[in-house]
């Protein structure tokens, strides 16, 4: 009988993607907490997960709920704080990367969720509609609007990439 993979393999396979999704939705500061809470609660439930479940979609669903919890808790605290001087992305990313990351985080909720879950986590629009509670075509439109907004704020990405090559 061959059952589920060891949870360590699940973490190794999906760790980077879940962190990207958390950073996209929450920004770099709260993303680590969201990542931790996502994998901790996934590990609790893991033995009961159906063997044929789509693990990535399952993790993104949990991350989505954790991000909502964290956003609500932050709103309740409602004490404005300055961004810490050294955010996790600052060490490895250049300022343009930071711009693009914060432009994504700054998009309206549905747009950034649709972009993150579709383009970063690779989920089909129908799965995202199930997570967000809505219609598939509305999710597709939100993702397209989000991408268009990012393209407007960062028009020179392709040119710059060509220069770097």
């Amino acid at each position: 009988m061959e059952g589920k993979q060891p949870f360590d393999t699940v973490v190794a396979t999906h760790s980077a993607t879940v962190l990207r999704v958390c950073r996209a939705v929450l920004g770099p500061v709260d993303a680590d907490d969201a990542w931790s809470e996502t994998f901790l609660s996934a590990m609790k439930a893991y033995p009961d997960l159906p063997a044929d479940a789509n693990v990535q979609a399952w993790l993104v669903t949990i991350a989505h709920r954790k991000a909502i919890d964290i956003t609500r808790a932050a709103a309740r605290r409602a004490i404005p704080v300055a961004a810490p001087p050294d955010t996790p992305t600052a060490a490895t990313a250049d300022s343009r990367d930071l711009d693009l990351a914060s432009a994504l985080t700054g998009l309206p909720g549905k747009q950034k969720q649709a972009v993150a879950y579709h383009y970063l986590a690779g989920l089909p629009y129908a799965d995202i509609a199930a997570i967000l509670g809505g219609r598939t075509d509305a999710v597709r439109r939100a993702a397209a609007d989000g991408i268009a907004a990012l393209r407007r704020s960062h028009p020179d990405a392709a040119t710059r990439r060509a220069e770097l090559r």
Binding site: F7, L40, T92
Partner: protein, 203 residues
Amino acid sequence: MSTSDLTGELICALAGDPGHLRRLHDRLAAAAQADGILDIAYQTVDSPVGPLLLAATDLGLVRVAYASEDHDKVLQVLADRISPRILRAPGRLDATARELEEYFTGRRHSFDVPLDWRLAAGFRSTVLHHLPEIRYGQTATYAAVAQLAGNPQAVRAVGTACATNPLPVIVPCHRVVRSDGGLGGYLGGVDAKRTLLTLEAAA
């Protein structure tokens, strides 16, 4: 600019570096331990007989595996037979790793860490429980161990028990040899058996 260029940039911009992901993993292992959901912790240590996989439940050390057993396969068997809630988490294996290091440098002759025997059952388990009675530096024949385990006829079963020992090195099946003076087989390979017996003979 194409959408794939833009999303490519996003993927780079939001990436966590390997050190960051490692710290998150360690933090998860600590939180899982604190919440009582880390059913199996494991780590790998280097040794004179190659890398050894060490795995422990909250009861104690449950598995030691040679590289030749394929560590990924061993972890999958642990997931199937005990629980898939498995993480690399060195903390729980610190004492075992330290005792093994002392053993391989000749400073330790027996092991004190708690053992979880659940992967051995029936007569095999009885055999394995008797093996620590063979003292460090000594050997015993398969027939002698069968007698020790209370069933002198069960020489072949002793061989099977040794070949399927879930806790090699710690539970010293390497000290069981053939009555004609041959080393006999070993789940970690005959070279590993010779290395361990040579180490013990020298101390």
